[in-house]
Symmetry: D2
Subunit: 144 residues, 4 copies
């Protein structure tokens, strides 16, 4: 199972070389991940109503390979796949295409952490790794 | 009294027109404001140790006029001045220069708000306006 | 005539105060402006095929007033209106709403400039103001 | 030989989880790379005066591993090392520390490309890989 979504390159995504800045692919991956999670009925920052413990997903690794330049107003199709699920972490794999042309491919590794009971603003970190709750694991596993 | 600081334009600040993106001036203003506040011994997000109530400064207005284009690797001098202090708000005025050439000028209006006693992550807003604490007002007023 | 579009707040738009960073509203305004221009059949960076001289629209002013905080995953409706057309410049007015709640309102002033015949990469600026071409003026004027 | 530089985390680098957004490490790597290149007398976008052909360095790969969260106003020390030089590409390795604590480590692979003689704005890409000019190779090799 692969989820995919489209977005148009905005001007702020570009740089003085006239192309999408390499760093701009990472927020695009994250937005696609979040859209994928919403499509499963999950949220990255679930509220009190959820029927499983509140968890958050800090990233521990991210990679991207750039295959062709993308430009302002290009329409990019971004696919998201769950490449691997461990006890506490999940690896997403992403592909960016402009029509049939491969533009970039990347990965993002997120670790499941329990949200603190009495959080502080600003957060001082201190998140604790926790096994991925079963209802979430089940949903994500459909994509492996 | 005017505070000033310098920064070099980074590649991520530019866009496909080959110049600094207009939106990139706002984080530069904010960073200069924060550096100014630190120079006064203040922080935008004070911890428990401060001898006045913990406050934060959400922005209620921002403006910028662009006078000349800035480019990658330009060194910009940014001056910060307290243009006005009200009961609960402060207006900062900024000027950007590249050597003698005026590049941009802007303003930012921040409102003094009390940090909640039991904050939530993510914050759900709900900040309450509060009069600027006297020790802070005194420090900022030196700049008016 | 008012154009409007929707977008969902992405995580990269937020800051450690738990809300959308004030600077993030400016790229959102610009993206809405570009979507508006595309809806008129115009492009911010027209290619050789257009039936009028190639122009570009550097910004000379931008403002934003923040009325309420926006948060991760909020859906914002952004309206774009041509508030004023001068000989060489256009002022856009923007409003951001989350359902019925006003979140922010802003303006952006863009100046019509002719693209150089022999551009350099990276651009060294040197754009020249030019009267807004009639076909563009006519399209934009429908919105005043 | 390792080059290192410091920077303070700015508010725009943070996100609603209260920490530096994972994507913000990439522009920091790039800025450190550019500072390293300037320290060698090189520029990422050399002008006509240079005594070697004008080249530019699009990225073909970037990775980052996140070891600990960074926060607003943290001072990060970023080290840059040339990990590998090929015929046409260079791999940089980066480490981020907050005092003695390792925060992140990453890599960036850049490919040497010749700037076109008659560039277009906006660039349509079409850059051609070229062997790294000897004067640049020599400077970078001191770091391997």
């Amino acid at each position: 199972m692969t989820f995919s979504t489209e977005r148009r390159v905005e001007f702020r995504d570009t740089d003085a070389a006239g192309i999408v800045h390499f760093s701009a692919f990472f927020p695009m991956m994250e937005a696609a991940e979040h859209e994928f999670l919403r499509s499963l009925g999950l949220s990255v920052m679930p509220g009190a109503g959820a029927n499983y413990p509140s968890v958050t997903w800090p990233r521990v690794a991210a990679t991207c390979n750039y295959l062709a330049a993308a430009h302002f107003e290009d329409i990019l199709r971004i696919s998201v796949r769950v490449a691997k699920i461990g006890t506490t972490s999940v690896v997403y794999a992403f592909r960016f295409h402009r029509e049939e042309e491969a533009i970039a491919e990347g990965t993002m590794t997120a670790v499941c952490c329990r949200l603190p009971d009495r959080p502080q603003v600003p957060s001082t970190g201190g998140l604790k790794k926790t096994p991925i709750p079963d209802p979430i694991r089940e949903l994500l596993s459909r994509g492996v």
